[in-house]
């Protein structure tokens, strides 16, 4: 058996309390890593941009979530228009 992360789904419950529905929302996830948190909402959001400076993490996320716009960049280097996001998530990355 492999490592088992948060089988109690506490993270999902907490995120759902903060954002009850991602439907129709444009999401930016900062410090996405390999996409563990991304997977909690990616299927329901209107669009997802996921960023992380680590190229290998972004490659892993792309493989798992091809519909996500995954970019190997930090927030300081991210080129996006102002007010173009509905929810920005600092994913264990602040």
């Amino acid at each position: 058996m492999a490592l088992l992360e948060d089988p109690e789904h506490n993270e999902w419950r907490a995120l759902s309390r903060m954002v009850p529905s991602f439907a129709g929302l444009r999401v930016l996830e900062i410090g996405c890593g390999d996409g563990r948190v991304t997977g909690l909402y990616a299927n329901s959001a209107a669009s997802v941009i996921a960023i992380d400076p680590k190229t290998e993490s972004i490659d892993a996320l792309r493989a798992e979530w091809p519909a996500v716009d995954a970019r190997a960049v930090g927030i300081e280097g991210l080129d996006l228009p102002a007010h173009s996001i509905d929810v920005a998530i600092f994913s264990w990355s602040l």
């Binding site: 992360e5 109690e8 927030i75 991210l78 996001i85 929810v87 920005a88 998530i89």
Partner: protein, 131 residues
């Protein structure tokens, strides 16, 4: 860190929100069942986690955001063995390891009641609204 929050504020629509998830500065623990083996040696991580908390407080103080909601939860990673958890901490955490005392106590707990060991962190989540 406050600069990152400031940049996020620029990107988020005025009706949107920023979600911050980060571990608290409480000790990460090794457990077997609900029995505590001991803390994980996390090096400088405790200071970084406190800095994240301080950054949110500073962003509120600077009137960038208001904290609209906040809560804490436990996040556990289970392994088949303590070695597997040790490897996970080595690979995925910025720094940290299970020290000898915690390892010995956790091994004793596993001998007494076999099960899956886990590492448990306390995590805070905040919903921030633009001001």
């Amino acid at each position: 860190m406050v600069d990152a929050l400031r940049r996020a504020r620029e990107l988020v629509d005025p009706t949107g929100c920023v979600i911050d998830l980060h571990p608290t500065s409480a000790a990460a623990l090794i457990l077997v069942g609900d029995a505590i083996g001991g803390p994980v040696d996390t090096g400088g991580a405790k200071g970084r986690h406190q800095a994240a908390t301080d950054a949110v407080a500073a962003a509120v103080r600077d009137r960038l955001f208001t904290v609209d909601d906040t809560t804490e939860f436990d996040f556990s990673v289970y392994g088949d063995t303590l070695d597997e958890l040790q490897q996970h901490i080595h690979d995925d955490w910025c720094e940290g390891h299970i020290g000898d005392a915690t390892l010995a106590k956790a091994q004793a707990l596993l001998r007494a009641a076999p099960g899956r060991p886990r590492v448990r962190e306390r995590v805070v989540i905040n919903r921030l609204l633009r001001l």
